[in-house]
Amino acid sequence: GSESPIQFGQINPNIASNFINTLHQDLVLSFPPGFPPSCSPSVPLPFTMSHGTTTLAFIFQGGVIAAADTRSSCNGLVACPASQKILPVHSHLVGTTSGTSADCALWKRILARELRLYQLRHGRRLSTAGAAKLLAHMLHPFKGTELCVAATLCGWDGGERPSLYYVCSDGTRLQGELFSVGSGSPYAYSVLDGGVRWGLTVEEATSLARQAVYRATHRDAYSGNCVDVYHITSKGWARRDREDAEFKSQHP
């Protein structure tokens, strides 16, 4: 119907916090209060751990590379070792996801729907910048609730140029050439900052992306298992074979 995509029944944050355990989870499950018992860490964490994931995306001469691990964690349990964190939105736009798996899957679908409607109504595809703004404005009413989505939108605009935007449910929207999101992102950033150049070949860029995710999965408990890599060019997105993070990096 004509209901706006943002007019869902919002959960009152006071009620929500009673039955949703918000400690280190990528997959939201309803537990009764007090379970599982939380133990305080013996060493204080440098910053709040959240978004149990490593995702990254960067622009280079060959287009956009997006990479992510495949581990979905929930409080120390690996809920799914083979999840998909890079979701295609349309033929020339993919989004990496981080935060709550369910929220990301839902909002990606809503974004895909709204972009398709825009295309039908206006006869042209909305740019990545427009898609990022649309997503940010759809998420803004949920600020302060438990909703948690941190995505990078990697696309190719109007047959001319690659584009990369970071959108977060706290309202942040940033355009850039290199982003990494998730609990493993600091580890990935340090590998990428030393290697990303405009002039990389496609093979070099893919290999660098896998290395960065591998290093992050090695150090971050909430990232791991396999690495997905997507490559976006003027012809659209192409998915590389999913490879085990550790295997590939030790047998290049």
Binding site: T48, G171, T172, F179
Partner: protein
């Protein structure tokens, strides 16, 4: 962690803002522009909670553009101030040049306190730089003197502020409009 500064002269306003967009301990972007053009001669500088800043500033920006379209003349500077307490956690500097009133700099915080001031700053860096402004500011500053005063402030941040702010966007507003000045990039530790 963010920093805004404004210095008003006899016929201009000089403003600067840092360029870092951070998330937790990571600098996600080093070339973020925190100034929003409200009209040909009014700039809104906006820092605060991630997301709120851009949402609020763009909301004000678009509404002022709409007012201009509807009413054929643009909002005068002092009416560009939003006096309602809002749920947005943003701290603002509003700088502009008015045809009748001349240059003006307004300091506003998230509780919607509003003050017209000859110079102002927001952020942790304000604690370090307000006393420099107190000491060296004169109402009859020339443009060059204002830029030198700004450089003094930024050098102090480079020396004493625990956060590294690698670069600052600088703009000047006068009767001819908004002028982009060279980005200030403090170099080396003193």
């Amino acid at each position: 962690m963010e920093y805004l500064i404004g210095i008003q002269g006899p016929d201009f306003v000089l403003v600067a803002a840092d360029n870092v967009a951070a998330s937790s301990i990571i600098q996600m972007k080093q070339d973020q522009d925190k100034m929003f053009k409200l009209s040909d001669k009014i700039l809104l500088l906006c820092v605060g909670e991630a997301g709120d800043t851009v949402q609020f500033a763009e909301y004000i920006q678009k509404n002022i553009q709409l007012y201009k379209m509807r009413n054929e003349h643009s909002l005068q500077q002092r009416y560009g101030n939003d006096l309602f307490p809002t749920p947005y956690h943003v701290n603002l500097l509003l700088a502009g040049f008015d045809e009748t009133d001349g240059p003006g700099l307004y300091f506003m915080d998230y509780l919607s306190a509003l003050a017209k001031a000859p110079f102002a700053a927001h952020g942790y860096g304000a604690y370090l730089t307000l006393s420099i402004l107190d000491r060296y500011y004169r109402p009859d500053l020339t443009r060059d003197e204002a830029v030198e005063l700004l450089k003094k402030c930024i050098e102090e941040l480079n020396k004493r502020l625990i956060i590294n702010l690698p670069s600052f966007s600088v703009r000047l507003i006068d009767k001819d409009g908004i002028h982009d000045l060279e980005k200030l990039v403090p170099v080396g530790a003193k």
